[in-house]
Symmetry: C2
Subunit: 523 residues, 2 copies
Amino acid sequence: MSTIRTNARVLYEFTAEAGNNELSVKEGETLTVTNKVKIALNPTWVTYSTMSVFVLFVACVFSKVKTFFYHLQASNGNDPWSTWNSNNNWPSNPEGTQTGKSAADPWNSQMQAHPQAYQGPGKNMTSLNMFSMSRFPGFSKPGPELFLLCKQLVKGKDKIPVYVSEVGPVWLYPESQLDCVVADPKKGSKMYGLKSYIEYQITPNTTNRPVNHRYKHFDWLYERLLDKFGSAIPIPSLPDKQVTGRFEEEFIKMRMERLQGWMIRMCRHPVISCSDVFQLFLTYKDEKDWKMGKRKAEKDETVGVMIFTTIEPEAPDLDLLEVEQKCEQFSRFTKAMDDGVKEILTVGHEHWKRCTGPLPKEYQRIGKAFQNLSSVFTSSGYQGEATLTDALTEAGKTYEEIARMFAEQPKKDLHFLMENNNEYKGLLGCFPDTIGVHKAAIEKVKEGDKLVAASKITSQEKGAMAKRVSTMSYALQAEMNHFHSNRIYDYNRVMQLYLEEQVKFYETIAAKLRQAHSQFTTM
Amino acid sequence: MSTIRTNARVLYEFTAEAGNNELSVKEGETLTVTNKVKIALNPTWVTYSTMSVFVLFVACVFSKVKTFFYHLQASNGNDPWSTWNSNNNWPSNPEGTQTGKSAADPWNSQMQAHPQAYQGPGKNMTSLNMFSMSRFPGFSKPGPELFLLCKQLVKGKDKIPVYVSEVGPVWLYPESQLDCVVADPKKGSKMYGLKSYIEYQITPNTTNRPVNHRYKHFDWLYERLLDKFGSAIPIPSLPDKQVTGRFEEEFIKMRMERLQGWMIRMCRHPVISCSDVFQLFLTYKDEKDWKMGKRKAEKDETVGVMIFTTIEPEAPDLDLLEVEQKCEQFSRFTKAMDDGVKEILTVGHEHWKRCTGPLPKEYQRIGKAFQNLSSVFTSSGYQGEATLTDALTEAGKTYEEIARMFAEQPKKDLHFLMENNNEYKGLLGCFPDTIGVHKAAIEKVKEGDKLVAASKITSQEKGAMAKRVSTMSYALQAEMNHFHSNRIYDYNRVMQLYLEEQVKFYETIAAKLRQAHSQFTTM
């Protein structure tokens, strides 16, 4: 393996943390890097510059297919959101083919209906996806035409129906909802202990029989789901891969919590939860079963835009204008919600920092000041002031307790609000691609007359395209309605939890202060 | 009148505020000043350097006796404590004779029993006091010798007795406590409206008949009390004189509140409240009565250390060792309490700034973020999410309310804690002088044998001195016990008030959040 040497100039300072395998760099320094190394900066870092939170992603792309992400992050105490804004803005981009796009706001590129939108979930098409692409020699990159002009639709049990309910088109929901518990992370090892990893136990409510999976299995599942459903259903990214500190308890706990959140979201989805690949992941019987299932899933041909061949709306076709209006509406809404969610994350992050930083320090100083005054008073030599000095000491200790309460509170409430919004941020980040596929299809159908005139398609094919874009629209509407109903539930739930904990917090402070108050007397 | 020009080099930067008649200066700049101008910086400014609160006192001493204080203060919003640490560290020093001392910590100079301590309350001896000084040609500045060696003690009704109670020596407390209300500030004018001033109405509980006084009358009373009692009783300074913005409502209200506090403290003092000059101030019948009383008070000869001639302890003489130990104990205690009080003021000042600055801003941003998300949700076009969006909007508004509550809270609780500690800081700042008189007297008595040997005093006089220092000690102990009992009452009261308001504050927040919580539903 030959070594490539490149010089890179450092654009932003980064201070390494001891023991994290990180490198401190100063602005303007030149680094010599071996192999192909991409150094980029989170586009939203500017918001955080005053907080001295600098996040660098160094993606080292080695020869062959193998890809590693080095996620160097500046640790910020217990605040897991110090790197939030970076986590999901960076689509996994192992081939580095879309550097220009990935550095920009994914919403902007989507809004302009740029050529890459024709790639459908192009950037998600990893090298593993080359199988499916190679089977369609007419399309170097699969666009919506693949579906709009395809001859045969899927029949039988693989059909995904769309019904029309009072809220509009909806997926078919299973009678009982699939659920699973991710728990019991265990350290395992391979190659005589040379390689170690964490294995999680996943127990679905259907079989109640636990299966074990490593993070890389989750990642495999994610890739399969993205491949298969990504054009119709936004598949949220998994929690970040992380190279350093992988075995720290805190990290494992957080990753498990997020994998649990991801799994619940997948279980809740009527289409995903019923899919063979998802069922395999949750219920494989043994290693052989798993291996066979894996091979079968990787050979699945109904991927990319071809998923729409399985969708069967039980409703009359929609006209193009309506299809377009719906698509525009979803595009506007998801963009607006993405902004709203990011605002909450930014504000929440700052609140987290204040609650764990300056506020406890201040309440502690207040507490210390009261206690110091109490000590001074004790030294007065004057009789009968024990009541006052005891009360002052207690008041001081109460403020020290309040300091601790402030520092601990975000973990109890803000944490869940942040996790929920972070999950939605991830989910919303998938919409530009999903919506992009639809916009590209709409544009194609609009070109119908021109294509017929140019004899590129027959007028029969033009009619079929209009019908198929209607199918796509039903799928998108069903998905949006699924999203809305989940969103309403999730935000109600997380706000309830947040406010409940906030009420408890302020009530506990009030009770503690009431107790401290009762010690003083002016009798 | 000739003009004196002096060059002064600026030691600390000061940024002027528009309209306040201030001058921006930079470190190292040279200023040419006419007349005698003293520019000094609060020795405790270092604590505030990070807050960018710079306070400069420019005392311009004009020819003749007339003295003006230009108190240039950097305004800091509604926080009246931005200049606290400066207000009382600067003893009024109209003659500018003790520049070296006044720039240093008054406690340090006292601790060293420096020669100036012999001046007794020397720095308080203004030019108005020259009358009394001129009558003792043997002493260029009156020290404790004046009392230690004086021939005759006061007799009759002017006697101030000291009793011994279970807590030790105490003043004689009147049966009913004097009290007064300072209210109804009115703008008055003189010289056909050319000169305007504020007149306050003071109503004592004894006559229930209001009298009117301007600030300068309070100042006159303060000077009289300081003159007469300052060696035995610490007389706290009046609230600051202020040249700019004298007629602003906020300033008048604050000054009135502080004048009220000062008057209550004087009323509560058994010796001061019974004095002729204090009674005159509260109960003069008409202008003529006031003028006559004024003249009489200004002619009072029992001033400075001579106040001790009126004190009559009803207890056996104390030996010098005990006198000295008590004095040392009071010195240590008042110094320690001064530190404790200043710590509370510093911490409280920072807390005030946080509660009125960054905290409300943050809660407002949280509130806005919730409301923005609610607007986005409203635009979804999805049916039946009004419950969520209404709840989110209400939660957002609740956090905006919490923001306002945080900003308003310090005025309701911290304000009184600060006022109380500020009052005590002022009071404690008087102790070094009062204790200094005692230390000087003790030193004098210790020199007794030497003075007898040198034939400077007779051995009879030496005996009288020992007796008189015992009298002084009884007075000091009575005063300390008065101070302790007031202190215990005041701190109990202010802590009760503070904690009560804090409890209300947190309970109100909890109730508001509980209401917001009830709007969310996961049914």
